[in-house]
């Protein structure tokens, strides 16, 4: 098998039609093949990268054997396909065989005439992929952001691509070469003025209840930007891919500050994503259980308690030390079977045991922080000892 000694490369098969056993059968080795014509690097599937390349084979009339071999790269053998482009009716791929202990395969091709035939070879190549990153700059009021998305092309496949069309599942192709061990960052989306909603969330299961009991550290309330992938947001043309997003903010001095970074999951059209940027230390929540009492105790004939309810009161003091109002989402949990007895705020049941409150906090005034109390009294029902 002829192969190039060059360290990286795919020893591409090559032409050199060898005279083999019979004159009726020609054997082509694709080694340094005629120059690769159009090459496409298709990155629409995050799991695997598909390479398609066109080459010209010099076929003889009758049977031809074309060897396709590679070296220093990792190709999924079962993914290799050959498509005849010029004379699909008259050139037929009969079978594919795999030589022992070689990174290669042999196509047996029948051709009606001797001619130069363009074929497209496609295969899955390992260690070449793409990442998506986002960079966004929010305005000072935090109502919208300028969103950019970059494609990061990483080629560690062992193969140099001098020129290729790089395709993702939308947008225009990039015409780029990429060398082995090279990484390229390409801007592929730029969308100014994407509206955002800023959200603060207190989750009673994730955050400590009483900041006073942790004097050495601040309990920050997580802050996120919510972005909807739809037309109203100047988006909605395609799904936003999963990737790391770095968010900055215009500081009003012709510069920016960095607000934080997060990874977004895949966001299909119409869906929303929330990017967690940092913690607010200007909203303080002190949540305490003020009552936990057994009531409605039911007993058996031996007077043993068999069933009871629990009367519980939770209060959460919410203080806004900010100069601006904020909409805080509070998530509370009540396990098991329960009944709300009294609650001073409206809530939405997210599921059987999760309560979601959306609380509008006014801004701090000259008299001090805006303080709101959330109080709920509920009975947890039919508990067995």
């Amino acid at each position: 098998m002829t192969s190039k000694s060059n360290f990286k490369l795919m020893g591409w098969l090559l032409t050199a039609s060898l005279v083999w056993t019979s004159s009726a059968q020609a054997r082509i080795k694709l080694v340094a093949l005629p120059e690769r014509a159009d090459t496409i690097i298709r990155l629409d599937n995050p799991q695997a990268t598909l390479i398609e390349e066109e080459r010209v084979l010099t076929l003889q009339q009758g049977m031809n054997q074309v060897d396709f071999s590679w070296k220093g790269v990792s190709i999924d053998v079962d993914s290799i396909r050959l498509k005849v482009l010029d004379h699909p009716e008259k050139v037929t791929l009969l079978n594919v065989s795999y030589p022992p202990n070689e990174a290669a395969l042999v196509w047996q091709i029948s051709s009606a005439q001797a001619w130069e035939e363009t074929v497209r070879i496609s295969y899955l190549l390992s260690n070449i992929d793409r990442l998506i990153t986002y960079k966004a700059v929010a305005d000072k009021k935090e109502t919208q952001l300028d969103l950019k998305s970059f494609l990061i092309l990483r080629n560690f496949s062992g193969e140099d691509f001098e020129q290729a069309k790089v395709l993702i599942d939308y947008g225009e192709a990039f015409d780029r070469g990429i060398q082995h061990e090279e990484t390229k960052q390409l801007l592929f989306m730029k969308e100014p003025k994407v509206p955002i909603t800023k959200v603060w969330t207190f989750d009673a299961r994730k955050l400590p209840w009483d900041p006073e009991k942790m004097p050495e550290r601040n309990i920050g309330i997580p802050v996120s930007y919510r972005i909807v992938n739809d037309q109203k947001s100047n988006l909605g043309k395609f799904a936003l891919w999963s990737g790391k997003a770095r968010i900055f903010q215009d500081d009003g001095h012709e510069s920016t500050i960095f607000l934080g970074e997060d990874v977004t999951g895949m966001v299909p059209v119409g869906e929303k994503t929330e990017l967690y940027i940092g913690d607010s230390r200007d909203i303080v929540i002190t949540q305490r259980k003020m009552r936990e009492t057994q009531i409605n105790i039911r007993r058996n004939t031996k007077n043993q308690m068999v069933l009871y309810d629990m009367d519980e009161i939770i209060t959460a003091k919410i203080e806004n030390f900010k100069d601006s109002p904020a909409v805080l989402t509070v998530i509370e949990y009540i396990p098991g079977e329960w009944k709300m007895i009294d609650c001073n705020m409206d809530y939405e049941k997210e599921d059987a045991n999760t309560l979601k409150f959306e609380i509008t906090l006014p801004a701090r005034t000259d008299d001090g922080p805006a303080a709101i109390n959330l109080e709920m009294q509920y009975h947890r029902l039919n508990i067995r000892p």
Binding site: Q185, P215, D251, T256, F258, D262
Partner: protein
């Protein structure tokens, strides 16, 4: 002596790929701005330079050997003719480390101002404070400082320096990103990271002969009065901008005054809570970050406070203790823990114990009962200044009632099993009071009177 760490240099034609394209030669940076975070090892650097571009494709090489720059954060923006200048891509070429190559398609030729921004590790800042109590301990002078340190590997001269107060969410350590062999790693790989780029020897080399330089730089930058720090809120953060520019050479730190408030009214607060502090009384210094306390303009970043007290007319000082505190929003109460003391003494004694109200089940086993405990609390203030004492008592059940007896009567229910008593004690005085705690057990829990 200055190391050329971040130069944009002309690429000396190392590959035929670039042979047909002119490389852009760059002057040094015109201005640099540093925005330094303290919740993470992260600094946003932004520099402006004037590129000389020619029409067509330009290649620009940026290298950052021996610094701690995160290559994934590199960005270049044209400050003029932005619509005619297309930043085609940023390439990290094979087998070269700490180097990026911008391909720029320019519709104009001539000077183009650009802004290059990136994250770097190694610069940091922290806040710290000095408090000086008046002899009567009713007021305190509070001086805030920031200390900015540069261990980034790069000398930053005449940099506009800004500090961010607040907690950013970050996924990757900038220092780790800076040390990666490949900026974005390899497919299917997490890491591996290379060891730090700067060797000890190199670090020593750098230290030498740099003192003079730093001093000169300081002299030049020194105005006739201390610099002011402008503070403003942005999103969930506070941005401190130090007036003018600063020169902070690699390896150096700089202390800058942040604020100085002369007379903050303070309360000498002492706390007792057996479960939290043990048997000692712990001293706190309490005030509020508001205008009544001569503060309240901006939040106070967390840091260490060392507290001194003026002891005589010659203004000699005595050291009272230190306390680390967390970020204090505007209008928030501050309680600084100065540690256990012996000059305020509290004794909590169980004076009487009895049980009562037994209930029996059908087998005549005990089914419910009450436990009644009488506690005596005695507090002594041996100091020559008045103090406030807060006493918290935790019970191991939420079924309890409390009756007072003796001199003191009011208490506050903190949560279902905690109460708090607050006492004001004049100088050199003593107070005592008693309370009777009844706890309810078994069947008696159902019969407990409303609390």
């Amino acid at each position: 002596m200055r190391r050329l760490l971040l130069p944009l240099v002309m690429l000396l034609l190392c590959s035929i790929t670039f042979a047909k394209v002119d490389l852009v030669t760059l002057p040094t940076r015109d201005t640099v701005q540093l925005t330094i975070y303290n919740s993470a090892d992260l600094t946003l650097a932004r520099e402006s330079r004037a590129l000389t571009l020619k029409q067509g494709l330009n290649k620009l090489q940026f290298s950052w050997a021996n610094t701690l720059i995160d290559p994934t954060s590199l960005e270049m923006l044209a400050l003029s003719n932005a619509d005619k200048i297309d930043i085609f891509d940023l390439t990290f070429p094979p087998r070269v480390r700490e180097l990026g190559l911008w391909n720029i398609q320019s519709g104009v030729s001539g000077k183009v101002p650009v802004e290059i921004s990136y994250f770097t590790s190694g610069l940091s800042w922290r806040a710290f404070y000095m408090g000086t109590l008046a002899p009567d301990e009713k007021t305190m002078r509070l001086q805030g400082y920031v200390r900015v340190s540069n261990n980034s590997g790069e000398d930053y001269e005449n940099a506009q320096t800004r500090l961010i107060v607040g907690k950013v969410h970050i996924l990757d350590e900038i220092a780790e990103l800076a040390r990666r062999q490949y900026p974005y790693g390899r497919p299917g790989e997490v890491g591996p990271y290379l060891p730090a780029a700067v060797s000890m020897e190199e670090k020593e080399m750098r230290g030498k002969g740099r003192r003079m330089m730093a001093m000169e730089a300081m002299d030049m930058a020194m105005p006739a009065r201390p610099k002011e720090i402008t503070k403003e809120g942005l999103s969930e953060y506070f941005l401190y901008t130090i007036e003018g520019t600063e020169t902070i050479l690699n390896g150096w730190s700089k202390r800058l005054p942040s604020f100085d408030t002369d007379k903050i009214p303070v309360v000498n607060l002492y706390k007792y809570e057996l479960e939290r502090f043990g048997e000692s009384v712990v001293r706190f210094l309490s005030f509020k970050n508001d205008t009544e306390h001569e503060l309240g303009q901006t939040p106070i970043p967390g840091g260490m406070l060392k507290v001194y007290r003026t002891v005589d007319a010659e203004k000699h000082l005595s050291y009272e203790g230190q306390s680390a505190f967390k970020y204090i929003p505007v209008d928030e109460d501050v309680e600084l823990n100065l540690g256990a003391v012996t000059n305020v003494v509290l004794e909590a004694k169980l004076m009487d114990y009895s049980t009562d109200n037994y209930r029996f089940d059908y087998k005549l086993n005990v089914w419910g009962w009450d436990e009644i405990r009488t506690f005596k609390i005695e507090v002594k203030n041996t100091r020559e200044v008045p103090v406030r004492v807060e006493i918290k008592r935790n019970f191991d059940t939420s079924y309890w009632t409390l009756k007072e007896s003796g001199a003191y009567g009011a208490y506050e229910k903190v949560d279902m099993d905690t109460v708090k008593f607050t006492l004001e004690l004049p100088a050199r005085s003593k107070k005592q009071f008693q309370y009777i705690l009844t706890t309810y057990h078994g069947k008696r829990q159902e019969e407990m009177p409303a609390n």
